[in-house]
Symmetry: C2
Subunit: 367 residues, 2 copies
C-alpha cells in the first residue's frame, strides 16, 4: 500500500465547512500516510486552517475558487453555474485523472447532478445509485439506492444489485454476497410489477452473488443480507427511519438511565459497554456513501458529519480506489448482458411452431 | 361507559391461535368489564380453553365453524371460499350489527380482502388503508398506509390524511393533529408527482388538522408529527425497518450488558429503567392496526402477538367504537369535498377573459 492516493476535497461543503473538512483530512492522513489531497475552495479560509494541522504540510495542494454551491441550490441550478464551483472542480479533478476519488459533503442533489454530468455513467448503467454501509447486529450491509432515483424500473434495480454486490465484495470482503430486493413480503407474488420483474431477472442471472429474492424491513437491522436493493424513494426513507429509530432509542435510554439514583449507578458501571454500542450505531462511523455507476469515484459525506466521520468517508474512497470497484462492476455487467443475449437467442421461436403458439408466447413475454 | 360493547373475534387466526385469542379476551375483559364477545372458530378447541378463564363465563358466545383461512392463502382464494370461515364470519357479525368491531390476527391480505368485500368502503373513500400507532420518544404517532395499497394516487393520500387525522383525534386526544406526508426531503420540490399533488391539495384543504407538508424518515421516531401519511409500500417498509432497528439495538444492548462483570452489575442496577424502556418499545403494547375507511370496524392484531398484545388490539377496537371514528371521517370528507367543489366553481373562467388567458390557465392547471 505504498502507492500514493490523491483525494480531491470540496472544502466548502457541509454544515461545518471548511473546518471539519480540513480536520477530517488530517485524521485520514494519520490513518493512511500515503494520502495526498487536492483541496478546492476559498484559500483565505483554508490556508489559515491548514497551519493547525502540521501533518498536512507537504501533502496538500489548495486550488482557490470563490464559487460555492449552497445547501438549498437546486440540481438544475448547480448544473448551470456549478462546474467551476469547489464542488464541480473537485469532481473535475477525478475526470481529469488528477485525483483517484472526490469526497464531498453538503447538497446531495447538486453532487449527483454534477457528478453525473462531469463523469457520465459507465457503459451498461442507465442511472447511477447512491450506496452506503448500514450497521447491523452482525456487522454491516450495503444498501442502495438511497435517494438518487425517486422512481426506478426493473433494469435500474438489476443494475443496482450488480453494483451493490461489487461494493460488498470490495468493502465487506465476501466473495458471493447475499443480495435481496426490499419488499413488503418475501413471497414472490408480493410487490409492484417492477419489483417482480427485477426479481425474475436476478434469479436467472449468472453473476457472483447469492441472490435471495425479497427481504423485508425487519431484516435490515439483523444483517440477513449483505446487499439490500431498493428504489431511491424507499431506500432514503428506510435509511432515515432506521437512523431516526436508533436516535429515538438512544434518547429514551439516556432518559431511562437518568431516571433514578439506582439507574445512574447502573449506567456508570455499564458505561464502557454502552459507549461501544453507541460507537457501533454512530452514523459517523458508517459515513461515506458512494455514487455507484459513474466513470470515476465520488463519495458523499453526511452534511452534518464530524471530522472523524469525514475521515471515515475518505476511508471508503481509499477502499474503493484500491480495490478496482469499477472493474468488478464492468465485468459483472458484461457477463449479465451477454447471458441475457444468449437467452434471448435460445428463446427465439423455432420455425416448426404454428402461429397460435407464437401468439401465446408473445403474450407471455409481454406480461 | 356502562353501555355494552360486543367484539367479534376470529379464534383461529394468528401464530398461537386459539390460545392467545381466548387469553387475550380474558385480559381485555378484566380491563373493560362491559365487554362481550362473539367468538368464531372450532368449538372443540375453544370451549375447553374457555373453562380456564372464569371471567369469560357469562360474556362469550361461541359460534362454531370448521373453516379456517390459512396464513398462506391468497386474498383471491380467501374471497372465493372464505366468507363462512371464522375470519369471514367475524367480519360479517360487524356488518350485521351483531358486533361493534371485529378483532382478527393472522393473514393480513385475506383480512383486507374480506373486510373490504363484506363491509365495503365508506362513501368518498376510494381505498381503505391500514393505520397503526407507532412508539416515538414523545409518545405515539399514527401512521398509514401500512401495506393495504402498494401503489397510491394523490386522492388516496389525501383520504389517508383525513382518516389518519380522525384516528389521532379519537385515540391520541389531540384536537388539531400535526399531519405530514413521508418524503425524501422537506422541500416542496422533492418527491414524486403524486406526493407533490397530494401536498398541494392538503395545503388548500379546510379540515381539522395542522397540515405540515413533508416529513422525513428521521422524524418518525422523534414524534414530530401526530399523523404520518404514505403509500402502503413505503409505510410497510418504514414500519418494519423501525421495528427491526429497535430489535437490533435491543439485541446489541443485551450483548453489551453481558460483556463484562462490570456491565452485568450495571444492568442489574438499571434493570427497572431498562424494563420500562423495553415496555415502551414492545410492539405488543402498540398492537392493533385499524382498517380505515370501511363501513364497520375491523382491527388487525400482529400474527405473533402475545395474549397481552391481543388485548391491546381489543383496546383499540373499544376506543374506536366508543368515539365515533366513522362519524369524524364522514364529516371531514364532506367538508373537504364541498370545499373542493366550491373552489372549482370559483376557478371557472369568467366570460370576459380572452382565449389567450384561457390557454394560459389551462397550461397552469396541467402542470
Amino acid at each position: 500500500m505504498t502507492r500514493e492516493l490523491i483525494i480531491s476535497l470540496d472544502a466548502m461543503g457541509g454544515d461545518h465547512a471548511p473546518d471539519i473538512v480540513i480536520e477530517g483530512a488530517s485524521i485520514a492522513r494519520e490513518r493512511s500516510p500515503n494520502l495526498e489531497f487536492l483541496i478546492f475552495g476559498d484559500e483565505t479560509r483554508i490556508v489559515p486552517l491548514l497551519t493547525r494541522y502540521p501533518i498536512l504540510k507537504n501533502c496538500v495542494e489548495v486550488c482557490h475558487t470563490d464559487k460555492v454551491i449552497s445547501a438549498d441550490e437546486k440540481p438544475s441550478q448547480a448544473l448551470r453555474r456549478g462546474r467551476d464551483s469547489s464542488m464541480g472542480q473537485s469532481i473535475q479533478a477525478v475526470k481529469d485523472g488528477k485525483a483517484n476519488a472526490a469526497v464531498l459533503a453538503g447538497n446531495t442533489g447538486a453532487q449527483m447532478a454534477l457528478a453525473k454530468f462531469i463523469l457520465r455513467t459507465m457503459p451498461g448503467i442507465d442511472r447511477p445509485a447512491l450506496a452506503t454501509l448500514i450497521p447491523t447486529s452482525r456487522g454491516e450491509s450495503v444498501m442502495l439506492d438511497l435517494g438518487a432515483n425517486v422512481e426506478c424500473d426493473e433494469n435500474n434495480l438489476v443494475q443496482f444489485a450488480i453494483m451493490g454486490a461489487a461494493f460488498a465484495r470490495t468493502v465487506l470482503g465476501v466473495s458471493k454476497p447475499r443480495v435481496a430486493i426490499l419488499n413488503v413480503g418475501v413471497e414472490e407474488l408480493k410487490g409492484s410489477d417492477v419489483i417482480k420483474e427485477a426479481d425474475r431477472m436476478l434469479r436467472e442471472a449468472n453473476i457472483p452473488m447469492d441472490y435471495r429474492g425479497f427481504t423485508e424491513g425487519h431484516g435490515l437491522g439483523g444483517g440477513e443480507m449483505d446487499v439490500v436493493v431498493t428504489d431511491g424513494f424507499t431506500g432514503n426513507i428506510a435509511l432515515k427511519t432506521a437512523e431516526g429509530t436508533a436516535k429515538m432509542i438512544a434518547n429514551l435510554l439516556k432518559r431511562s438511565l437518568n431516571e433514578s439514583a439506582m439507574s445512574k449507578i447502573g449506567a456508570l458501571f455499564a458505561s464502557s459497554s454502552l459507549q461501544s454500542l453507541k460507537d457501533h450505531l454512530d452514523p459517523n462511523n458508517h459515513n461515506g456513501a458512494v455514487f455507484m455507476g459513474l466513470n470515476g469515484l465520488v463519495i458523499k459525506s453526511h452534511g452534518g458529519a464530524t471530522a472523524s466521520g469525514f475521515a471515515s468517508a475518505i476511508g471508503v474512497a481509499i477502499d474503493m480506489a484500491q480495490n478496482d470497484l469499477a472493474g468488478k462492476i464492468t465485468r459483472d455487467l458484461t457477463n449479465f448482458n451477454s447471458a441475457a443475449e444468449d437467452a434471448s437467442v435460445t428463446e427465439k421461436v423455432p420455425e416448426s411452431l404454428n402461429d397460435d403458439t407464437v401468439v401465446e408466447m408473445n403474450i407471455k413475454e409481454q406480461k
